[in-house]
Amino acid sequence: MATNPLLDEQPAPTALDRPLLTPIKRRSFFMYAGATAGATALVLAGCKDDNNNSPGTVDVGSGDFGILNYAYALEQLEAAFYTAVLGGKYFTGLAAGTAEKQIFTDLALHEKIHADFLKTALGTNAIRGLTPNFGSINFDDRTSVLNAAQAFEDLGVQAYNGAGRYIQSVDYLTLAGKIVSVEARHAALIRDLISYNSFVGPVSGATVTSNAVIDPSTTSATARQEQSKLPSVVLATANTFLQDGSKVSANSFG
């Protein structure tokens, strides 16, 4: 194949055995896709939709049970996080009746309810319990707790919205909808706790200054909408909070 300057845009993969989990520009990707004609240089590991995992990872499976397990994995993480918050000095130091005591009490209850519900709904199809890794979070420190909470909640909203396209049953789509709006309420409040008025993203005055949450444009196709993410992207972040052996994959989905 003739040299093509677009190929030069391909960044080096971070792990040679999982090139497709490395974000690459879509235009570069299509150069590779076209190169399968005749050439077989591209490694396809991690791309198949069977459960071809690295040892110790938990794949969520396929179909609607796969999406529910994906949600269950994320809710397990959130529930474990807020339960850990309850034992840290930030929370225990809050006086009864204060706003933040009430807020983090509710957050812990809601996420536990979500995780327990999904486990029950999945029955024998549920993935196993996951072991989190919260080593990067200081549960005695308000800022550390709030920043982690914000990361988890925004991620959860992006995850549910990005998974919607895969759901085949109207009932499950509605169920996901019932949970995601609560997560969005959580996320907005935590952002407001960190910086009041940042409920849809970082702001300066009345201007949304980044696409951390929504697309700030009022005219694009995704104008002022949540920046949902596909499962592989979400899990790349979620897995940084899960121990080896509890890392999650969603090989049946994007």
Binding site: R27, L109, A184, F199, T219, A223, R224
Partner: protein, 337 residues
């Protein structure tokens, strides 16, 4: 033919062309056999299929999708003009004015995006004149910041329930990667973020001091009782039937604001499919009794109701919306008039 040259040319007129194709994983399914199985003559047809799928925005969407999105659009216009007027009213200053400006801009973006999807099938811009925010004289939303926000909360919580109720209608979205369904979900969660902030602002204005940080004021279970004076940022029970603003405008017809906001948190047309917001049954599971509280906490029915928001069917949404139409709005046949 040079496939990549074609993509280059398309990219010049459509920079997002690469985003329109299937996810990378799916492309392997579709293109993986290219070298082995397909003859050169078959390639153009295969490519044509890929492009059709990418640009396969049907010239006419299914009617159920058009109707669902137009209901959403009608609500977005209702909110857009409400926030437009709120900004102009002088009720808010500083950070609080910034907040409602952000929300106004979000609604503008959502309107633009929905119109972009619906194209010629979109309703005409109803203009502000189609809406009567006093609900026929029952409310005085511009009499105070607190009153304004109470009505705001009712609008936005209706919108969240409407998007949730309508999402199922979008499940057979024919566009690539179900872009319309995804857009609706991505609008829905932003509306929920609005509700969270509006509720925080309502807690703030309970102090009587503008530009108070509402995250520092505790919300109460069920919003603290009649009138929902101290709402949490999530719906708690039925929020005691909502803000139920006290009627401040004398008129001869219509009840005090109660029924208007009760419908926002109550059951839909079919209470089994669309229960009230204090519901704790999800997919035949009682989510309160199903769960064990984290150590030291009590898992109440209220908490269980808060953990899930409820959808509302289009008929019930329209009934709420019709309270806020002027004569022109009814002439324009908004909200099923």
């Amino acid at each position: 033919m040079d496939f990549f040259q074609i993509l280059n040319h398309i990219e010049k007129v459509d920079p997002e062309v690469y985003d329109r194709f299937d996810s990378r994983r799916n492309v392997f399914k579709h293109m993986g056999g290219l070298g082995k199985k397909l003859s050169a003559a078959a390639v153009p047809a295969m490519l044509g299929t890929i492009f059709n799928k990418a640009y396969g925005q049907t010239s006419t969407l299914p009617q159920i999708i058009i109707d669902t999105l137009n209901l959403a659009l009608t609500l977005e216009y209702l909110e857009f003009y409400y926030y437009q007027q709120g900004i102009a009213s002088g009720l808010f200053t500083g950070n609080d004015l910034n907040a409602i400006t952000i929300i106004r801009d979000d609604e503008q973006g959502h309107i633009n995006a929905l119109r972009g999807v619906l194209q010629a099938s979109a309703i005409n811009d109803p203009t502000a004149a189609s809406y009567d925010y006093t609900a026929g004289g029952n409310l005085a939303p511009f009499s105070s910041a607190a009153m304004y926000l109470a009505v705001s909360q009712s609008f936005v919580d209706t919108g969240v329930r409407a998007y949730k109720g309508g999402a199922g209608n979008l499940i057979n979205d024919p566009t690539a990667n179900k872009a319309i369904l995804t857009a609706a979900l991505n609008i829905h969660s932003v509306e929920a973020r609005h509700s969270s902030h509006v509720r925080s602002m309502r807690r703030a204005y309970s102090t009587g001091t503008p530009n108070t940080n509402g995250t520092g004021i505790a919300g109460q279970d069920n919003g603290g009782g009649a009138g929902d004076p101290l709402p949490k940022s999530w719906i708690s029970g039925t929020d005691s039937d909502g803000p139920k603003p006290i009627k401040t405008v004398a008129n001869t017809a219509g009840p005090v604001g109660g029924p208007l906001t009760a419908a926002v948190y109550g059951a839909g047309t079919d209470a089994t499919k669309y229960p009230a917001e204090n519901n704790v049954m999800q997919a035949t599971v009682n989510v309160q009794t199903n769960s064990m509280a984290p150590a030291g906490l009590t898992l109440t029915a209220t908490a269980a109701s808060e953990a899930f928001d409820e959808p509302l069917d289009a008929v019930a949404v329209q009934a709420i919306g019709r309270n806020f139409l002027s004569a022109l709005g009814r002439t324009n046949k908004l909200f099923g008039s």
